[in-house]
Amino acid sequence: MTKFKVFLIIMLITAAASWADTRPRVNISAGWSGALRLDKEVKQYYSPFMMAPQGRLEIRLLHGITIYGAAQYSQEKGTTIPAFLYETKLQTICTDYGIGYQFKWKNLSIMPHGGYSIMYLRESAFGAKENRTAQGFHAGIKINLYLGRNSYFLMNANYTDAKLQTDIDRLNVGGFRFQVGLGTHIRLFESPYSVE
């Protein structure tokens, strides 16, 4: 993403928040993610269930409209086919970009969301390394349980359909993901005139 695009996004956020005279929020959270793979062929090489740390950045715009970016990093060991001849290592950075709408109650918010996922894969085997990218859409629902004024506990579940094109066919390296974590708010443009 170029600096110009970043600048443009910030300006748009600022303009939108000013226009709404509301308080945009940046929500930052971190936690743990578990991924359940569904593709049979992928499960031949790597474990069907994988856990990884995850981080999430959300920007709530006007009202409950929220854009977000999330990332998780995983590192796991697998095997080759024929099995157990060689050990393989797969490093994955899964980035999610999307938009959702928060339904908010006093200590609870629920946000259905959806967007686009880009997975950066790096596999090491036989003394060689291979980098590939898989892309696809995702959709899910996130629940925030507020622990205080600025902190919350999040639970997120989504399904990612990220296709990896191989020489033979297309593999779904996504699947169901369940994420838990703790987050906090950073309130922007706080002013005596702001209306909650």
Binding site: V42, Y45, Y46, G78, T80, I81, P82, L85, Y86, T88, L90, L121, E123, A125, F126, G127, A128, E130, R132, L164, T166, D167, L171, V173
Partner: protein
């Protein structure tokens, strides 16, 4: 009384034919195998062979009478004595057919000395000749046959001796020497012989050799030759007898070898190993080494190198540990296995397997692709 009839008829016929021929009577040969017909102006005679017997019929009275069979005579000539490698002429001119028919001649071998490759020249002619190539007794058979299948045989014995009074040089030796260099081999001329006197001098000489340092120890009848390079060595010998006659020079070739390296062959299999993103092939190649002769030159070690199709040079050679080489004493075949991982799928690879000396000299090699 019945016996008298054929005899009488034969005599009458013979006399009649003779008389008829004298009188200019036509004698007509009707066919070669069965029948001969003789005609006079008044009478026609026919000699018919039937079941090995001959009958005579004549016209106008056609009553048949039996007569005696007359066999041809084969004569191969008197037994002869001849010199080795000299032409011996044989003749069958003493052969004939009492009935006057033409003879078919065939000369054949009855016996000849072992090792002789002499042939009968013009074996279907009246006169033939042979050129004996071994001392000893040759027996040649002569077979004569008429067109009506009457035949006779004879033999002639040819005793062949050496007529050359010059001494003969003979070299006995190993023929082939296999050992580490330098190597010494001995040639023996003691089988050289002469018909008159004694052999008093042996003249040995090296006729041809690889560029090599040669040491000769001449002991007269025997000579010891030490060479330091493999190759073909040709040595000559001329002997001289006490009468002052010299033999023809004989030559003897000795193949000197420091051994033959094993012949390498191999067969391999290739298998693809796949990860999620990466794919590689693994190759297993079984290499077999077989010595083709008992004269063995054993490589100090085996190495192999690999290159992909399109690459011009082989990679760094790898040494095969002697612990990984299996030897089968029964079959004389040694083998080892090469395993190479991380081959790129779809790319052909070439393997060069070589047996080398400690100094790095390649004794044997094999290139194979998989």
């Amino acid at each position: 009384m019945r016996i008298i009839y054929p005899i009488a008829l034969s005599l009458i016929l013979t006399a009649g034919v003779a008389w008829g021929e004298d009188q200019g009577i036509k004698v007509k040969k009707l066919n070669d195998r069965i029948e001969n017909r003789f005609e006079t102006e008044q009478t026609q005679y026919a000699v018919i062979k039937s079941g090995g017997r001959f009958s005579v019929r004549w016209s106008p009275a056609g009553a048949g009478k039996t007569t005696e069979t007359l066999w041809p005579v084969a004569n191969a000539g008197d037994d002869v004595s001849a010199c080795n490698e000299a032409e011996v002429a044989l003749s069958s001119s003493g052969s004939y057919d009492p009935m006057g028919m033409e003879l078919l001649i065939k000369w054949t071998w009855v016996s000849k000395p072992a090792g002789s490759e002499a042939v009968i020249n013009n074996s279907n002619n009246k006169n033939c000749y042979i050129i004996p190539d071994q001392l000893g007794i040759y027996t040649v058979g002569l077979n004569v046959r008429t067109s009506d299948n009457r035949e006779a045989s004879d033999t002639v014995v040819i005793t062949v001796s050496d007529c050359d009074y010059r001494p003969k040089a003979v070299i006995d030796g190993p023929g082939e020497v296999c050992d580490k260099m330098p190597v010494t081999f001995r040639l023996d001329g003691s089988d050289s012989h002469t018909r008159e006197g004694d052999i008093v001098r042996y003249n040995w000489a090296i006729e041809s050799s690889p560029s090599s340092h040669i040491e000769m120890t001449d002991n007269g009848r025997e000579i010891d030759i030490t060479v330091d390079m493999p190759g073909m060595y040709e040595i000559s010998l001329t002997v001289e007898n006490s009468l002052g006659l010299s033999s023809e020079t004989v030559y003897y070739k000795v193949k000197v070898s420091d051994g033959d390296p094993p012949q390498i062959s191999g067969a391999g299999t290739r298998k693809t190993i796949s990860a999620l993103l990466l794919k590689r092939d693994t190759a297993k190649i079984n290499i077999y080494m077989r010595y083709l002769s008992d004269c063995r030159k054993v490589p100090a070690k085996y190495i192999y190198a690999m290159r992909a199709l399109g690459e011009l040079e082989y990679g760094e050679p790898k040494e095969i540990s002697s612990n990984n080489i299996n030897s089968n004493e029964d079959t004389g075949i040694s083998s080892f296995e090469i395993t190479e991982d991380c081959l790129i799928p779809g790319t052909r690879y070439y393997f060069l397997i070589a047996g080398v000396t400690d100094q790095g000299e390649v004794l044997t090699f094999k290139e194979m692709s998989i």
